[in-house]
């Protein structure tokens, strides 16, 4: 097990979420940067969807209750094990009683601390993820929590280290126009694709609020609420877009001008407040088939 000594701004348990429950109003949730969670689990020989700790802007400290094998992925925060400096994206051994500390990452926002065997808290509706909007799943971590670790999987780690480029300073995200592009003026999409937006401090696991040029609507009537996907750029009447992340609402009532591709939603989840974001039209992969 792991004992939580410090949490930083926000630390939650996350796996790949709870798909399949949208019709009763339950969103997918899960790791905001799913690719980083998967990588951490692959490094350890875990099932890709095993639960890990999602650490927002570092600041986590845990003590190992027994000898453990761990990996840290995502935002490249400095990692120490009982004061020894260790690397990210690497397989690390931690002896019983040793403390693992994650410092503030110099770039990126969310890091993943995974343990061989996975964090084994009780699943809720089939997942160990904390959905901060719906209030489903385990509470955010608090100092003094103890987290059980599951049995080690049969597979062994096959590499020690994964080469991972750090998140870029200037983030460029691929988008596909639609589904409600026609609710905006002809220029709105061009504005979105040629402007620089800034991530505001009003951003969390639900969504990322952006500041920048307004995206003007061509119709003022109300859109009946409709289903939403992660990556949707929803534009409320104030005309600044919100990019939906892991804990986004199942449905929404504002038009979506464009959707960030699934691969780039992970990169979006690493954007920090104050960072600049640009959007570019994704190559149409289906046309190449």
């Amino acid at each position: 097990m792991l004992e939580v000594l410090e949490t930083g701004p926000l630390a939650t348990v996350q796996d790949l979420g709870r798909p399949g429950l949208a019709d009763i109003g339950v969103g997918v949730s899960g790791a905001a940067d799913r690719g980083s969670l998967r990588l951490a689990n692959r490094l350890l020989g875990n099932d890709e969807g095993a639960a890990a700790i999602e650490v927002t802007f570092g600041g986590l400290a845990v003590r190992a209750g027994r000898d453990l094998t761990i990996a840290v992925t995502g935002a490249p925060c400095p990692v120490t094990v009982d004061g020894r400096g260790e690397g990210a994206n690497a397989v690390l051994r931690v002896a019983a009683g040793e403390e693992v500390r994650l410092g503030a990452p110099p770039c990126g926002l969310r890091s993943y601390l995974a343990v061989r065997g996975g964090i084994d808290v009780e699943p809720v509706l089939g997942s160990r993820s904390t959905d901060v909007m719906a209030g489903i799943g385990p509470a955010a971590l608090r100092v003094g929590d103890t987290l059980p670790v599951g049995p080690a999987p049969a597979a062994f780690p096959v590499v020690d280290l994964a080469p991972v480029a750090p998140p870029p300073e200037d983030l460029v995200l691929d988008v596909v126009p639609g589904p409600r592009e026609d609710w905006f003026t002809g220029e709105a999409l061009e504005v979105l694709l040629t402007s620089v937006y800034e991530v505001t401090t009003e951003s969390n696991r639900v969504g990322m609020r952006l500041d920048g040029p307004a995206l003007t609507r061509s119709r003022s009537d109300e859109l009946p609420s409709e289903g939403m996907v992660a990556g949707a750029l929803q534009v409320p009447p104030a005309s600044k877009p919100t990019l939906f992340l892991a804990d986004h609402p199942v449905t929404g009532g504002y038009p979506v001008i464009a959707v960030v591709t699934s691969a780039d939603v992970d990169r979006a989840a690493q954007a920090r407040p104050g960072q600049r974001v640009r959007f570019r039209r994704a190559q149409d992969r289906s046309a190449k088939r």
């Binding site: 949208a22 019709d23 009763i24 009946p224 609420s225 289903g227 199942v250 464009a258 591709t261 992969r285």
Partner: protein
């Protein structure tokens, strides 16, 4: 039918009305096309969420277009009786808006059978349709920051029950003690699409 792409993550199918949404939802839920993880029915649309590693949006779109609308799932999901104390803060306002007396509002609400059309506002919340057209009222002009759990409300053609305390803009006409959402129950939501609902006045 209009099919709108949500990048590689979804297809938003726009339909004529709630009945068409229900019919397509019924047909697709019995056999999900490859790579579809979730169906999200709403008032005029059905969203198909895709697993981008498994789904080809063009293939899924073809599957949707060749799907024959299913039997309407209304009246297929069992009956839930909901005991209600009709003392909501907006009951007088609803009476004024509908031109009915408060007693008549209660009578209209309890005399017809409602059906869960879709969810989505919060875990366990069901948009109930099929009630008396006399009860159609707009949302409140100001949303409340705190609506107590169990509040029974009206908005547009729908009625609904708040599964937990949350902000909300519906016109509140009463409250129920029935636990419509409990995460440790199977299923956690009493009000799933297709379930029929009868409101009964108590107290």
């Amino acid at each position: 039918m209009r099919v709108l792409r949500c990048a590689d993550s979804g297809l938003l199918v726009e339909l004529d009305d709630l009945d068409a949404v229900q019919a397509l939802y019924a047909a697709l839920s019995s056999s999900l096309p490859e790579g579809v993880t979730d169906l999200v029915p709403a008032a005029r649309t059905l969203l198909l969420r895709l697993d981008p590693t498994r789904a080809d949006p063009a293939e899924v779109e073809r599957a949707v277009r060749s799907t024959r609308p299913g039997r309407n799932p209304r009246r297929s999901g069992g009956l839930v009786r909901v005991p209600v104390v009709y003392d909501g803060e907006d009951l007088a306002e609803v009476a004024k808006l509908t031109g009915l007396s408060e007693r008549e509002v209660v009578q209209e609400h309890t005399s017809s059978e409602w059906t869960v059309a879709f969810g989505g506002f919060a875990p366990g919340f069901g948009y109930l349709s099929g009630g008396s057209p006399k009860l159609e009222v707009p949302r409140r002009s100001e949303s409340r920051t705190r609506v107590p759990v169990g509040s029974v409300g009206l908005a547009g053609e729908f009625s609904g029950i708040y599964p937990r305390e949350s902000p909300g803009g519906w016109q509140l006409i009463g409250r129920t003690d029935l636990e419509i959402w409990r995460v440790d129950r199977d299923p956690p939501a009493l009000l799933r699409p297709g379930v029929r609902v009868r409101f009964e006045e108590v107290g």
